[in-house]
């Protein structure tokens, strides 16, 4: 028998839908940290990211029967989290504060000194000044390391439109960070 920890996403989703509710914890365990990083960079705060990831998992559970392809659970979950993050930024637009950026980037001063930490903080703040669409493509490519093709598939859009968004983001970041580059 295959160990539970190696079970495919689709198998777990089908088991949960069949009534084995506890197995949902395996999906949460498997993806929470990976998507918390995305949410933290999108929202500018690790605490807000934790709340967003929690809400998204609860919402995904509620709507699990609507997950048309259980084997692609994570792509479907990502869209729920993405909507949550976009809604949060709309609600909380004015909170793109220094504290928010510090919440994400201030703890890692050990791997490059104060200058690197300062640069990171400045970049995180500048990211919060981008539109959510621009910020998202930047985070998915340069934080999560996805290719344009992978991002296009995930967001159901085209590579040229992603590149346009990204290139605008580069220019805006350069403008924001002209004292740091």
């Amino acid at each position: 028998m295959r160990p539970k920890s190696k079970a495919a996403d689709g198998d777990i989703v089908r088991a949960v839908l069949a009534g084995d509710r506890e197995r949902y914890a395996q999906l949460v365990e498997r993806y929470r940290d990976r998507y918390a990083r995305y949410a933290a960079r999108m929202l500018g705060s690790a605490d807000a990211a934790e709340d967003a990831v929690q809400d998204a998992f609860v919402r995904a559970y509620d709507q699990l029967a609507q997950c048309k392809d259980p084997d692609k659970f994570v792509g479907w979950f990502f869209l729920i989290l993405r909507n949550r993050c976009f809604a949060e930024r709309r609600r909380d637009r004015t909170s793109a504060s220094l504290e928010a950026a510090e919440g994400v980037a201030a703890d890692d001063r050990t791997d490059g000194g104060a200058e690197t930490a300062e640069r990171r903080r400045a970049l995180q703040l500048a990211l919060l000044e981008l539109t959510p669409d621009q910020r998202e493509v930047f985070v998915l490519k340069h934080v999560e390391g996805l290719s344009y093709g992978e991002i296009a598939e995930r967001l159901s859009t085209s590579v040229p439109s992603l590149k346009m968004r990204m290139h605008r983001a580069y220019d805006k970041l350069r403008e924001q960070l002209r004292d740091h580059t």
């Binding site: 990831v53 929690q54 490519k141 350069r174």
Partner: protein, 180 residues
């Protein structure tokens, strides 16, 4: 294109389509500058171990809210049986203590109380905003003994009581402790 825009070739460099060596000499400095920007990208992991427990607890709380309705007919029968079997003897009332919970949260839209006394149901015990200063209160009558609890702000943020001692809940969060 404004004076602050990157050259299109530098954008290709940032996209990873070309390398620094592919840039003409006059764009090298701009290219290096741009790569420094990418070097500042924070790729550190964000670890949220408590999320697993919090999600499963949220699902459990919801299930518990549904269960009593399903069990109500069976419990009614059981209660009737117990009343019939037990001798008519007055029960000793447990010591009860009235407690006022207070949280100052001016920005909150709603605050509630979840704890061992309401099966950690974040919706069972809402606090009332008592004035324009953002003071939220709830008065409960609880059995004597030890209780653990936390405030739930806006339905999502679990906050320990700043005016009470707290203990680790074993999942990276702090629960407030009240001993009556």
């Amino acid at each position: 294109m404004s004076g602050h825009d990157f050259h299109p070739l530098v954008k290709q460099l940032l996209d990873g389509d070309i390398t620094l060596a592919d840039l003409p000499a006059e764009l090298r400095a701009e290219g290096e500058n741009a790569l420094r920007l990418l070097a500042a990208v924070d790729r550190t992991d964000v670890s949220v171990p408590a999320v697993t427990w919090r999600v499963m607890a949220a699902l459990e709380r919801r299930r518990r809210r549904v269960l009593p309705w399903l069990l109500a007919p069976a419990l009614a029968v059981a209660a009737a049986l117990i009343l019939w079997i037990l001798p008519a003897k007055p029960a000793t009332p447990a010591a009860l203590v009235t407690v006022r919970f207070v949280l100052v949260a001016p920005e909150a839209r709603e605050v509630s109380l979840a704890g061992t006394f309401n099966q950690w149901d974040a919706h069972a015990t809402p606090l009332v905003r008592t004035g324009p200063t953002g003071v939220w209160t709830a008065t409960l009558t609880l059995p004597a003994g030890q209780h653990q609890y936390a405030f739930v702000v806006d339905g999502v943020r679990w906050v320990p009581d700043p005016g009470a001692p707290a203990v680790d809940d074993g999942f990276g969060r702090r629960n407030s402790v009240l001993t009556l």
